[in-house]
Symmetry: D2
Subunit: 337 residues, 4 copies
C-alpha cells in the first residue's frame, strides 16, 4: 500500500505512521519526495485496513497495490474454474445458453416457451417466480406455484433450472426446486444474501449491479467464496449510463476484464443488457466472440402477451435462428455450443 | 398514453390496437400523421399496462403521460407531508439534523460521539448496527449489541434514533430499539423489504440508490405507501458518476425536482454524497439553501479510529462549527434549525 | 408532437396553443384526459420548434414523435449507404480494418508500423499529425511534417490514409495529404467544423463523443449531410462511465442501434474503447460479430516507445494474429475481411 | 510515481526499469513485496512521462503521486486568484452574477432583457452571438451583428460583457466586442482554442465539459495558463448522468473540490446545470452557500419567445426575486452580492 502525505505533513507525522505500520508486522518504507512525502507498507493490505490511514488528517491519499479480493482473483488461483449447474458445465470448452421467459406466468406459457428453448439447444431453463419490479403496480410473480411449474416443466424436458432468489426467507424453498440460484442486479450487494448462498454449495449466477464497478462485482463474489461456496458464475447484464437508446449499456469489455482478474466463468445477458428484442441477437453474437462462457436469453412463446420484459423477449423462431448463427462464431473462437 | 406505430404498421394494425384499448374501457384516439400513425389512450395508464403495448412488434414507442406513481405524487396530494420520527417533525418549518457515527462500535465510542451530536443541536441520533460493506473483510457491525447501545445512549440524551435495516429478518429486532428505519441505497429496490416496512407505521428514511432515477426512488416509496405506511422521508445521498474526485456525485437538484413531484419530505446526506470530510460542510449548507428538510451527517469523536467511513466523518468541533454556520442559511430560506 | 399541459392549465390555455399550432399550418389535436389535457400537432416537427412550446409556463412536457434528423435517418433513405475512402468501400460486404499508430512520430516509426498494417491486411492507414491531448505537457503531434510522412509512407504501400483534423484552419492542408478526415470525439459537436467538412466531398469518419447519446451523434452527422456531403462513416469509440477497469465503456449495442436508425456505415474503435492492449482483440471480434462495417485499431512497431496511447497499441504480431482470428468471425456473419 | 509490476516480472525487468528511471536523473526506489514488485520514482513526474512506463508489457499499473497540473494547482500558488473582467472582480469577497439571455436575438430583445439584469444587480451581461446547437435545424445565432448589439446594449448600461467563442477564426472579432471570452462545455478540450485564448490576456470563462473529470477541467485551464494568460474563471455547469429529471446533473461538490485543488475562481451555471426554470433559483442559492464565486444565469424578457433555452430562462421578475433571496445567503457565508 502506498500512502501519500499532505504537503503540510511534518517528519513527526511520517514517523508516527511508520511506527503504526511497523507495529502491525508490516515493512514500512519512507520515500521523501520533492513535493510530497510518500510512505509504503509491504504485506497483507487487509491487515492495514485496521489502521484506517485514509481517515488521518495528514494523509492525502491511499493507493492499494493489490486487488481487494483474494479467493476470486487469479493471483492465487490462475486456472479457470468450471462450475457445474445440474450437470451442465460453465467455463469449459462448450458455451452454455440459458434461456426461457422472464417470469413463469402459467403452466401453459412455460411449457410452450421451454419447448422452444430445448428444441433449439438451450441447455438450462430460466424463469422467475419472484419478480423484483420497479413499480408496485406491475406483476410480481407466481411465487411458490411458479417454482413448482418450473421444476415440473424442466423435469419433463430433462434440463436443469435457474431462478432468482429475491429474499433470504425464500432460499430453502427455491433450493428444493432449482438447480442454481440467480442473484439479481439489485441484490448484488445484498451482503446478507451473499453470505447465505455462500453456505450452500449450489451454483450462484451473480448479476452485476447497474452501478457496480468490476471490482465491486468481484468483491460481491468474494463474499460467497469466503463462506465456502466456490460455484459462482458472474453475469454482465448492462450498466447504467446516460444513453436512452438501450435499457442498459452492455459493457462487453467486462468479459475480458473479468477474465484477466478472475478465474470464475462469465456469462452475458443481452436481453436485459439492451432491453430491445432486435439488439439481442447481435449482442449475443458479440458476447460469444469476445469470450463469454455462456448467455442468458429471454424467450417467450408469445412476447406480446408477456407479463414482464416482453419488449426484449425473443420469439421462438428468432431464438432458433440465433442459435444457428451462434454456432459458427463459437467455432471461430475455438469453442462449441 | 401515446402509442407511436412503426412506419410499416397497416391500418389493420391500428384498428386492432384501438379495439384492444376500447375493450379495457379507455377512450382511444387515432392520429394518422404524415410519417407515423399515433394512437392515444385516455384513462388510468396502469390499466393499460395489461395490454403490454410496448411488446407489440408494430409499436415503435409508448409514451406515458402521467407519472407512474400515485400516492407519493403531488397530483392527488398537493400539500407537503410532515413525518414525525420520535417526536421530531420532518417537512415542517424546522430543518432537522440527524447525526452520529457511521457504525456503533462500542458504548464508549457512541457515548462520546452522541454527546457531541446533542451538544451542537443534532436532533436525531444515527448509528449503524448492521453494516453493508463492499468487502467481506471489512467491519460488519455489532448487530443486536449495537442496537442496545444505540437505544441506551440515545435514551440518556433524550433524542430519538434512526438505524439501518439490512434484512427483513432483523425488522422486529430493530423495531424494538429504533424510532425510525433507514433503508440504505443498496436496498432501495429490495421490494420485499419495502413491502415489509410498509406494514409498519414507523417512519422510513429511504435512500436513493446510486443508479436510481428520481422516478425510481419515488416508485420505491410508492411501494411503502401502497402498503399503508405514509411516513416516508426521502434521502438524496449521491449517485454514481464518472468523476473520482468525490465518492458519489451529490445530485442536489434532486431536492427541488423531488419537491416538484412529491409531497414527501427530503433530506440530504452530504457525508456519503461526497465521501470527503472537507466537502461535507459546504454541501450541507448547499442542501439547506436549496430547500432540503433535513441533513444526515456522520460525526465521530475520533474519525481516525473509526471502523468505517472515517474519511468522511466530521470531528465534533467541525460539526459544532457547521451547525453554527447552518443557522443563518436556514434563516435566509425562511426556516430554522 | 405531443404536448402535455400542466394540471392547472385552463381551457383558454389549451385554445391559445391550438390556435398557434393551426396558424403554422399544422393539424392540432385536443385530447382532454382525466388528469391532464394533452395536445397533438401533426406535421413537420421542425416547423413546430418555432413555437417554443416547451418554454410555455403551462406546458408540462413536449414529446416529439419523429426523429430529429432526416438525412441520416432510414425513414427516407432505407438502403445502406456505401462510403468510398480512397477506393476502399465502407458499408458493403467487406469489413474494413483501418490501422496504424496513434501518432505519426517519425519516418522510421511510421514505415515500420505501416508495413505491419499492410502485411496483415489493414486496408487504410491511420496516423495522427495533430494530437489533441488532455495535458499541455504531452506530445502534440508533428503537424504538417507528420502529414507529409503519412502521405509518403501510404503512397509506397499503395493504401489510402485517414487522419484527424483538429481545427478548421488545418482543413486545406489535411485535404492535400489525406483520403479521409477523422473528426475526434472531442470535436463531435464542433458544429462549425461539421459544416466545414460538409462542404467537402471527402469521407468523414465521425467519432462519437464520450457524453453523446446516439441521437446526438446522428444529429452531428446530419450537420455534414445538410451541407451536401453524404460520405459519413460513424464510429463508436467508447463512452464515459463510472467503471475504471477500462479507459472508456465501449457501447457495442450502438452498432445495431445506429443501424436501426441510420443508413450510414458504422465502424468501431476497440483501442480507445478499452484503452487496454489485451482487450483490443476480444472487442474487435465482438464488433465484427455484432455487425460493424469496420474497425479502427492502433498498431505500433514498438508500443513501449510510443509517444501516445502505447498502453492500447498492438504489437505487429498481435495485429497479425487478430486479423487471422477475425476472418472466420467475419465469415460467420456472412461477410469477409 | 509508483510503478506496480506484473506478477510474472523478473528481477531483470525491475533492474531495467530502475536503470531507465535513474538515467533520467530521478531517484528510483525498489520495493519487493510478497505478491508484487513495486518501483518508485522521485522527482518531476512530467519527465517520467517520456519513459511511457504504462506501455511496458511487464507493468501492471502506474500511479502518479502529484497532480498532473502545476500552474493551476494550489501547491505552488496557495493564495486565491482574483480575475478582473471589465473591472468586475471574480474570486474576491463579492459574489458576481453574470446574467442575460442565452442568445442575442435582436436589439429590442437584448435591451429589455439586459435592463432586467442591470436593474436587479447582475454585474456582467451575457448573450451568445454564435450558438453551438445540437441540431442543424435550430437557431445558430446572429454572428457579428449579435456582437455589435451586445456591445451597444452593455455600453448603455455601463456593464461589461461575456460571450462565447466557438471558433478560433472568430477570436479577433469577439475580442473587439467583449470583455471576456466564454469557452463552452463542448470546447473545453478544444486544445488549439485553449492555446489561442492563452495568448490573449482577456479573462476566459472555461466551462466544464459534460464528460470531464475535475482533473480534466484543471488540465484544460493549465493549457491557458501555460500560454501566459492567468485570467481563467472555471465554471461548473452540470455533467452527463443517467437521470432525466434534469438536463444535466449539476455537480456542486465540484466547487469545494476545485477550491481544494486550485487557486482559480469558480462560478456555477444553474441554468444549463438543470435545464428547468423552477430549479434555477434553488440551485443558485445552493451554489452560493457552498462557496461559488459567481453565477451565470439565463434571463430573458419573454422566455416563451426565446429562440434557445427558453425552458431554463428566468422571467425578469423571477430574476429580481432570486437576487433578493441570494443576498442573505451570501451574507451568511461572509460575502456579499
Amino acid at each position: 500500500m502506498i500512502i501519500v502525505l499532505k504537503p503540510q505533513a511534518t517528519p513527526a507525522h511520517a514517523s508516527e505512521l511508520i511506527d503504526r505500520i511497523a507495529a502491525l508486522g508490516l515493512r514500512p518504507l519512507h520515500m521523501p519526495g520533492t513535493e510530497r512525502v510518500v510512505l509504503g507498507a509491504l504485506g497483507d493490505e487487509r491487515v492495514l485496513e485496521s489502521l484506517h490511514l485514509d481517515s488521518h488528517p495528514m494523509v492525502e491519499s491511499v493507493k492499494p497495490i493489490l486487488a481487494p479480493y483474494k479467493l476470486v482473483g487469479r493471483d492465487l488461483h490462475p486456472a479457470d474454474t468450471i462450475v457445474s449447474l445440474g450437470g451442465v458445465d460453465f467455463g469449459g470448452e462448450r458455451i452454455v445458453v440459458i434461456a426461457g421467459p422472464c417470469a413463469v406466468e402459467s403452466r401453459d406459457q412455460l411449457t410452450r416457451s421451454a419447448a422452444a428453448v430445448a428444441e433449439h439447444g438451450g441447455r438450462v431453463l430460466r424463469g422467475g417466480a419472484f419478480k423484483p419490479r420497479t413499480s408496485p403496480y406491475s406483476f410480481q410473480g407466481l411465487g411458490a406455484e411458479g417454482l413448482a411449474i418450473l421444476r415440473e416443466v424442466a423435469g419433463e424436458l430433462g434440463i436443469p433450472t435457474l431462478t432468482e432468489v429475491v429474499d433470504i426467507a425464500d432460499l430453502e424453498l427455491v433450493d428444493r426446486f432449482a438447480d442454481g440460484f440467480q442473484l439479481g442486479a439489485r441484490n448484488m450487494q445484498n451482503f446478507r444474501m451473499l453470505k447465505a448462498v455462500g453456505q450452500s454449495r449450489k451454483p450462484i449466477l451473480l448479476k452485476r449491479g447497474p452501478a457496480a464497478r468490476i471490482d465491486d462485482l468481484l468483491l460481491a463474489a468474494e463474499y460467497v467464496l469466503a463462506e465456502g461456496n466456490p460455484n459462482v458464475i458472474l453475469c454482465e447484464r448492462g450498466i447504467q449510463s446516460f444513453d436512452t437508446a438501450t435499457r442498459n449499456t452492455l459493457d462487453l469489455a467486462a468479459v475480458p476484464a473479468i477474465k484477466a482478474r478472475s478465474h470464475l466463468p462469465v456469462v452475458v445477458d443481452p436481453s436485459h443488457g439492451t432491453g430491445v428484442r432486435d439488439y439481442v441477437a447481435p449482442m449475443a453474437k458479440a458476447a460469444v466472440a469476445c469470450g463469454a462462457d455462456g448467455l442468458l436469453i429471454e424467450v417467450h412463446h408469445d412476447p406480446t402477451a408477456a407479463l414482464s420484459d416482453g419488449p426484449q423477449s425473443l420469439y421462438p423462431d428468432q431464438f432458433g435462428q440465433l442459435m444457428r448463427e451462434l454456432e459458427p462464431i463459437a467455432r471461430a473462437t475455438g469453442r462449441s455450443l
